[in-house]
Structure formats: C-alpha cells, structure tokens
C-alpha cells in the first residue's frame, strides 16, 4: 500500500541516461489524444501521464513491468490481440485504445477470477478504502463472480504475525509478485519468493519460514508494493487507514529519507516512504519506516527538572523556573570563572535551525566560542580533509550518482547496516554490472550478498587505512594510471609532483605495506587497477575512515586518489562521506565547530566576523573555542564549569566513559535538553525536555548536502520545540531572540551563509529539497560539486605519510577492538531501544574470531570480560569469522554494555575525533559477569588513585 494520495504511474520512467546521447521523444495517440513521452516509456505510463489511468494490479511504478495480471490490456491499431500496456513500449505514431467493450469484458473476466479466491468482507478488512483490488473491482463494476465461492480457495491461508511491525495474511494475497519483486529489485535482499505452481502458488519468506526468522530485513518495501491488505502494518490494523498525511524527513541516518507521516486524528498510523523523495525514491529501512514509537514512549521526560547537586533527587519545576535557574547559573559561573568557563554542544539529531540557534546562543549570548557538535566524534576529519584538498567540507555527489558509477570503493563503511537505503541503491547498480571494492577489517554485508559480490575485499588490520590507500595510489602512480591531463588542468601542480614523488617511494608499495596492513599485495594491485581504469570511479566512506588517529590524513588520501584518477566533478564519481546521523552535515554547516561560523568560515576572518557582529549586534571573539574533548580536559583542570547539551548523550557516546563522567562531575552546571533522561542526565543539574522530529518544524541536511523539510505532525509533548527552548534561555540571559517560526531562522542563515543564500522555506516546499550550494549561481541547488573547477580553485594534494597509532596491541592487550553499528539499532540506542527493534538486537555482543575464542576457551554465547588500558566491560561472545583473527568487534547501542568504557581518548591529529576504531584489549571468559565487573572497577579506582 503506497502512500496515501500517491498517484502511481504503473511503470518506472525509462532510464534517464543513454549511451546514444540525448533522450529521444516519441509521439503517439492514446484514446484520440496526442501524447509525447521519452522513448522506452510503457504505454501504461504514457497513458497515466495523459490522465488515462489503465486498470492494473501487478504493475507499480517502483518496479519493472511484469505483465502478469492481464488487467492492463489495450488495443493498438494495426496490431493483433490485446497486449499488456505495462510491458509494451510506446512507438512513434502508435494509436492506442485503453477502453472498449471488448477490453472491459476481458478485464472483468480477470477480476472475476481474482475475486473468486478473495474474501469479500471488504468492510472489515484493515485495507478497506486503500486497496487496489477493491478499487479495480469498483472501477470494473465487478461485485460477484460467475465461478461462485464454493470451490477451493485460500481463505484459510496462513497468517504470519511473527514480525513486530507487519503481518502477512495469505487469504488477501493475489500472488501478483509485487512484494517479491520489491524485495529483489528495490531492497536487494531476495528474501521472498513464490513457492509452488498454479493454484498452490504462494508468497513465502526464505525457505517458507516465519518472516521474523527469515532473511527479511523488515525494510517494509513489500508492504509498500502490496496492492491489497495481504502485507500490512500492524499499526494500520490497530488504528485503521489514515485520514491525512504530512511529508517530513527521517530522523535516523544521514540518507535523510522522505516520508509521509500518515495520521488518523492525532495518531500516527504509519510512516510511508515518499516515492517523490529525492534521497530515497520511496524506499526505507526498518528504523525509519517502523521505529517511531519512541516519540510517544512512556520513558519520555516531559517536565523540566533541576537539582543543586547531581546526588540530589530531581525536582520537577515549571519552564520559567528551569530557564531562570539555567540563566542564573550560567551567569554566576561566568562572573566567577570568566566568560570562557561555559559552552554548548549542538546535536546532529536536531534541525539546522536548532543547531544554528545554539551556536548563536553560545557565541552571542554566552560571549564565547566554546561550542562544538557531536560531529566532532564522527566526521570532523571529513570537514578538515575535504576543505583542505578540494575546498568544501561536504560530499561531492547526489546519492543517485551511484547509478552512473562503474567501480565503487566502499571504505570504512557498512552501508547495509548503517545506511541501508543507499546500500540498496548501490546493490541495484552492482546488479547492473558495476564492480565493488570493499576496504574493511570485517566481512561486511556488501562483500557477498544475494546476486552481488565485491570483486575485492581488502581486509586490512584496523588502524592501517592510510598505508592501504597509499599502496593503492602507489600502484596507480607507478603504473602510469593517473589522469595527468585532468590533474594539470584542475590541480596545484607543485603539490601533485610532491605527492607523486612521495607516493612512488618503494616503502608505499603494496609489497612493502603488506606486513603492516595484512592485505596481500596482489589484491591491492588488482583493486588499484580496477578503480583507476574505470570510466567512473566513486568512493564512499564512513566512520571507519574518520575515527582514527589518522582520520584526517585518510580523508586527504582519499581526495588525492580521486583527483589523481580524475574522479571528481561529474556524475558517477566523487568522494562521498556517509554521515552517521540525520543532520551531521547540517550541524557542521551551521557553524557548530568552535573555530568557524556557518558555511565553514574561520572566526578569525574579520570580514566574516563583522557580518555576524553586524547582524547579531554583539562583538564576537576571534579565537577558536574548546572542542568537546578539550571541554572535558578543561573541566578536569577547573577552567570549564558549565555546559548546555542539546540532544546529545556525551556520557554514552564519547570515548573513555570514566574520563567523561569525571569531567561532567567536575562541572557546576550541566544542562541537558533531551527526549529522555539519558546517561548524561545522570550528571546534570538541569533537565529540559526535548521534542522529537514529529513535534517540530525545521530542516535536516543529509549526506548529499540535501536540505529537506521537517514538518510538525503533533504538538510538542513538553510544550516547546527545541529551538523555542534555546530562545527562552537566550532571552533570560538578556540577549533577545524573537523568531516566530524556524523559517525566520533559515532566513537569517541564508543572509549570513553564501552556500545557503538562495534557500527559503517557500523554495523547499516548491522543489521538495535543495542540495547546497544554493545561491544566485545555482538557484535550485547543486547536485554535483566541483564541476569544471574545485571550490578552492585548484585541487591540492597532501603528502599522507602513514603514522602507526600509539594505541597498538601489546602482550597485555593483544587484540584490537573496533566498533560499529547494526541495522536495527541507532547510535546510542536512545530511540531504537524504545521500540520493538529490540526483537532483533536486545544487547551488544562481542564478535570474536573462532581462533581467538578457542585459544581463550570462549564459546559462542559466553560472557567475555574485555579490558583496555582505560577500562573494562562484559559482553556476550558471538564467535564468527566476520572478524579476522586478532580483531574483535562490538556495537555501542546499549549503555549497560559499556563499549565506550574501554575506548580511549586517542584521537585524530587534526580534529580530536576519537579513535573509536582501534582499542587494544584483552578478552577473557567470565563466569560471573557482575562480580568480574565490580572487581575491575575496584582495580581501576586503585590505578587512578595510585
């Protein structure tokens, strides 16, 4: 069941690109009217575009035409028979009739057959009013069947309710295969099939298993495709079909899927992926589509609270008292310890307008540049690395660009888990013939999946990214595979020559680096040649690149590689950071980093600072402020005393939890604004209730620089949207903010930020979304950046010497722990843990290779104690060869698993992004986890006090 109100054109548009050049248009006649459409369009789609909807059941415009239901038959002048309009392409001069007595008769025959095996109790069906079978029966005036209802049927067919979010009712299934094709073509999981033949045909998951136990990843695409109520959300069964829909943007990962939130009264019935969504084209994942229940979860903290000491119980207060208390405390701290003794942290989960306002509050009302964002601990090296090399702190492409790629490198990212909708697009392209190179310590899902396999998997040791990419570049440079004409035209030649000389040195060869990286030289050589020889080579990367001591160096090395091979500045190529959270790109764009204003302009630039001072009416500081890790260090040395944290759980997500909590404990006023009393709130003096994405207006900017609207679908449960709370604090501090709507904040952003100069809410509503830069030169945005020239002018190569991390394994800590995400959970889990997604993942586990497990006497499911140089925790073992010997892996979605108790403060040289991906640890089997954990804590305290 597609989104309410969506007009389905029956078959997809023909591919936009042809090798033959510009698209050829075809003119035909449909029911007497002249219609001109691109060559390759089906008659069904052409008719729909001309407002002549042809009856259909097995066709939908998200799937290739199938020609199974025979309802869409038409007559074509000069042709015999009644071809299916979904599988018949248009031709010049063709004359088509979509309606005739004969066609109606044929269609009614088909409908009678369908209805003879379908329950006729539409009134009690949960899909009543939103069912294509019902619509077709009504349109063809079929209310009964000549075949009677007494024969064999599937009315008592199986009812699979195993999945927490949707059900499969076989009695309602018409075996049109739309669900099977959606799982294959769109999602790429191939979990569904039609089992049996003829009358016994039925849809089954995997080898006829319950959906929950099958390979199904619960993306919901089968539900979206189902024309009846056979596959349906349980929430629709519970609440009924929706009455209205509001289009908004998902608040999970950086893909930024567009959804229609369907409502009945004020009740959210379901999230239907928006087929007009520019990032997702109607696709979704288990989080975005289903895991929205946290917004109304009983754990939501809805009252402001304050307390004098963190050991005191919370006291519920009104908003006025909480805001006055906050302002008073911050002013007291500044009067006592100085203006720079306080700061703020913005969140990549909040809107652009909210993050802009928090950094404005800090810079203008607090009078300090101590503002940072949680992007510090994920993609800050992307900002530094890409700004230095190509001139802009952002990915270069639109997601759709991957459909024009020939070779794709995925490095340090796990898209099927972290960015599933993009992963599906990539898999579509791979099934069309593109090849893939995976660079990752683990055997991630893309290495081998149904109908795809990576040509190369460079399974490197964690922490050796730079050595691997230098070796790839070495092969390209020494093998004469660089595109020197491109480089000569577009890059700084001095930097290129210096880099070439460095990279050609034998120590960077695959053979020399093999002992460092663990990757066989032959694989590196093959992968390098493959990428360099591709007409279009694209690189997609994630936190496995950035969260290292050489995160920034690696980002620069990626840019070097792309420039040297001419793979920047057109569709199908590029350097593309996959952002972990919904608004990582936006929070960085909005000036959340302590050293720069919105649009990545340094605070020391007098012209830029002057513009902000003029607009904001205050003097602003020209020196950078503290980064998040620096705030912790400064708190421990007594120079940083208070912080306003909006929508970020630093106590769970930042490394070395003991260090973070010690820093928080040392502060005198910690203000947490969040949906839940999170881990950080345990150390807070003020709690201000936050608002979920369903309760606010604003915008998010996804990983492809796409600005999309977030629209309020319910009133803020605690009374205020987050941007309003920031305004209250500012006003209480005596720095007035008077915005009536986030659109006014966006107007201010546009007036101060050249890359956003042309962005307005009116334009966003009109275009659906906008990829920045959006200004006079690009009034409708910029899908592909660096076309013709780089943003910085000439691209700059940097020498990227491999420097081993100091967090190296030792006899005491012989294993390397690396961390990541799982599909069904999100980041610190605050949202997804409060949904039924826990059915799939209810605890973090430790992946350990069978060899390492055996030598330690660890069996699958055993409790394992993990100890690093800074802390210990206990997790259950998952013995698997997804990890290589010497490497263990866990996720960080549950606070009790304490993944960040063991990670260290080691960080990227340029940005202080923590090195989450490399922690030296030892793992031992533990019989009594609670006792072991307590003993370790005592040992740690002794170590600290010693």
């Amino acid at each position: 069941m597609y989104a309410k109100g969506y007009r389905d054109l029956g078959t997809p548009a023909p591919a936009a690109r042809t090798l033959q050049g510009p698209r050829t248009m075809v003119t035909l006649e449909i029911d007497g009217a002249s219609v001109t459409v691109p060559e390759g369009t089906s008659i069904m789609r052409a008719a729909a575009l001309a407002s002549r909807d042809i009856p259909k059941l097995c066709a939908t415009d998200s799937l290739k035409s199938f020609g199974s239901c025979r309802l869409c038959l038409v007559e074509i002048e000069g042709r015999r028979g009644y071809p299916a309009s979904c599988t018949t392409p248009v031709a010049d001069g063709m004359k088509v009739r979509t309606e005739s007595a004969k066609l109606t008769g044929l269609r009614r025959n088909v409908m009678e057959l369908y209805i003879s095996d379908h329950p006729l109790d539409c009134v009690t069906c949960p899909a009543n009013g939103h069912c294509e079978l019902q619509d077709m029966a009504e349109r063809l005036d079929v209310t009964s069947t000549r075949y009677g209802l007494a024969g064999a049927n599937h009315h008592e067919g199986e009812h699979d309710a195993s999945n927490p979010y949707f059900q499969f009712d076989q009695s309602l299934c018409i075996v049109c295969s739309r669900c099977v094709r959606a799982c294959d073509e769109v999602q790429g999981t191939f979990a569904l099939t039609i089992q049996g033949r003829g009358f016994a045909s039925q849809v089954v998951a995997s080898a006829h298993e319950p959906f929950l136990q099958s390979e199904c990843v619960s993306c919901g695409q089968c539900i979206e495709a189902c024309p009846t109520g056979a596959l349906l959300e349980k929430s629709v069964v519970r609440h009924g079909t929706a009455e209205r829909a509001v289009t908004t943007t998902c608040a999970y990962c950086g893909v930024g899927c567009s959804f229609d939130v369907e409502l009945k009264n004020e009740q959210v019935v379901r999230m239907a992926p928006d087929r007009n969504g520019h990032a997702n084209h109607g696709h979704a994942c288990v989080k975005g589509r289903f895991a929205f229940g946290y917004a109304t979860h009983a754990d939501r903290a809805l009252k402001p609270m304050i307390r004098a000491k963190i050991t005191d119980p919370w006291r519920e207060v009104g908003w006025e008292e909480a805001i006055d208390h906050t302002a008073r405390e911050f002013r007291r701290l500044q009067e006592t310890y100085g203006a720079d003794s306080i700061g703020g942290i913005t969140s990549s989960r909040c809107t652009n307008e909210e993050t802009f306002l928090v950094q404005k509050l800090v810079r203008a009302a607090f009078g300090t540049n101590n503002v940072d964002t949680c992007a510090r601990v994920c993609h800050s090296p992307t900002g530094y690395g890409l700004k230095s090399t190509i001139g802009e702190s952002a990915g270069t492409q639109a997601f759709d660009s991957v459909m024009a790629s020939d070779v794709v490198i995925v490095v340090g990212a796990n898209p099927t888990e972290g960015h599933p909708v993009f992963a599906s697009r990539l898999k579509q392209r791979m099934r069309q013939g593109a090849t893939l190179i995976v660079i990752d310590p683990r055997t991630i899902g893309l290495v081998r999946a149904p109908h795809i396999a990576a040509d190369y998997h460079l399974q490197l040791r964690p922490g050796t990214n730079v050595a691997v990419i230098n070796a790839l570049s070495h092969v390209i440079v020494t093998g004469g595979l660089t595109r020197d004409a491109y480089v000569s035209e577009r890059c700084e030649l001095d930097s290129y020559q210096k880099w070439k000389k460095f990279i050609a040195e034998p120590r960077n060869s695959p053979e020399a680096t093999q002992s460092i990286t663990g990757v066989p030289a032959a694989l590196v050589r093959g992968a390098a040649r493959l990428y360099a020889s591709a007409p279009n080579g694209a690189i997609y990367y994630g936190l496995g690149v950035t969260e290292h001591s050489q995160g920034t160096t690696m980002v620069m090395a990626i840019a070097n590689l792309a420039m040297a091979t001419g793979n920047l500045g057109r569709e199908g190529v590029g350097v593309n950071p996959l952002r972990g959270q919904n608004n990582v790109q936006g929070s960085c764009d909005m000036g959340s980093f302590p050293h720069e204003f919105s649009g990545y302009r340094h605070v020391s630039d007098p012209a830029v600072r002057g513009a902000f001072e003029s607009k904001w009416g205050v003097r602003l500081k020209s020196e950078p402020g503290l980064r998040i890790p620096n705030m912790f260090d400064a708190a421990l040395d007594g120079s940083f005393k208070g912080v306003y944290v909006q929508g970020e759980d630093i106590a769970q997500s930042d490394p070395n939890t003991n260090h973070v909590t010690a820093a928080l404990t040392a502060m005198e006023c910690v203000v947490v604004q969040d949906l839940f009393l999170n881990e950080t709130a345990k150390y807070a003096h003020v709690f201000l209730p936050g608002s979920s994405f369903l309760e606010k207006d604003g915008t998010f900017t996804n990983a492809e620089r796409r600005i999309s609207r977030v629209r309020k679908v319910m009133e803020p449960r605690a009374g205020f949207q987050d941007w309003e709370v920031t305004m209250l604090i500012s006003n209480a501090l005596g720095y007035p903010m008077r915005y009536r709507h986030p659109s006014e904040i966006m107007d201010e952003i546009a007036s101060l930020t050249p890359t956003f100069a042309g962005v307005t809410y009116e334009k966003l509503d009109r275009l659906g979304s906008i990829q920045w830069p959006c200004n006079d030169e690009a009034p409708e945005g910029t899908p592909t950046m660096h076309v013709g020239t780089f943003v910085r002018g000439k691209g700059k190569f940097f020498v990227t010497e491999y420097v081993p991390t100091t967090e190296s394994p030792s006899a005491e800590y012989p294993l390397v722990l690396t961390t990541g995400r799982i599909l069904t959970q999100y980041n610190v889990g605050a949202q997804t843990r409060r949904t039924e997604n826990v059915v799939w993942h209810s605890e973090d586990v430790l992946e350990i290779h069978p060899h390492d497990a055996e030598t330690r006497g660890i069996a699958d499911g055993d409790w394992v104690g993990i100890t690093s140089r800074v802390g210990s925790t206990v997790l259950r073992a998952d013995v698997t060869d997804r990890v290589q010997p010497g490497v263990v892996y866990t996720t960080f979605h549950f606070p009790e698993s304490g993944a960040n108790v063991v990670t260290t403060e080691n960080s990227d040289w340029a940005t202080n992004c923590p090195e989450y991906k490399v922690t030296a640890v030892e793992a031992i089997r533990v019989a009594h986890p609670a006792e072991w954990r307590a003993r370790q804590e005592i040992d740690l305290r002794h170590t600290i006090h010693a």
């Binding site: 720079d340 001591s549 920034t552 160096t553 050293h595 020391s604 950078p624 503290l626 421990l636 010497e801």
Partner: protein, 74 residues
C-alpha cells in the same frame, strides 16, 4: 589542562606536517594550533615550555620548534 595530553596532541600534529611541509613543519604546526586550539590550551603548553622545559621532554623536535614560535607571540 594535562600537559602530557597537550604534548601528545602536538606530536601527532607534527607527525603529519613533517611529511607534508618538510622544513616548514614547525610553522605549519604553530599555525594549526593558532587556528584550532583554544587559547588556554596554547597558553598552557607555552607556559610549560617557558617555565619548565623538562616537563615537555616527550615533545618532538618539530613540536618543540612550533611551541617556541608560539612562545614568541605572547
């Protein structure tokens, strides 16, 4: 702030610029610290450099040269 931590951070920055900037590495490191470090962090390591250079014994040569350059400014 913990000077040992600041020294480790300067060494990491220096390790990059030694390769990238060669003889210009100290200046590049100093510039990086100016652009990205909060003034109190710079002051603290400069103060340690001035008052007790032995506390910076783990500072790399490039890092030391960079801090020396910064120390001339304040």
């Amino acid at each position: 702030m913990n000077v040992e931590r600041l020294v480790a951070m300067v060494n990491d920055i220096a390790a990059f610029f030694v390769g990238e900037a060669g003889p210009g590495a100290p200046a590049a490191v100093a510039n990086h610290l100016r652009r990205f470090w909060d003034p109190r962090m710079r002051s603290q390591i400069v103060e340690a450099y001035r008052s007790d250079p032995s506390s910076l014994r783990d500072l790399s040569d490039t890092g030391r040269a960079a801090i020396a350059e910064l120390s001339k400014e304040t």
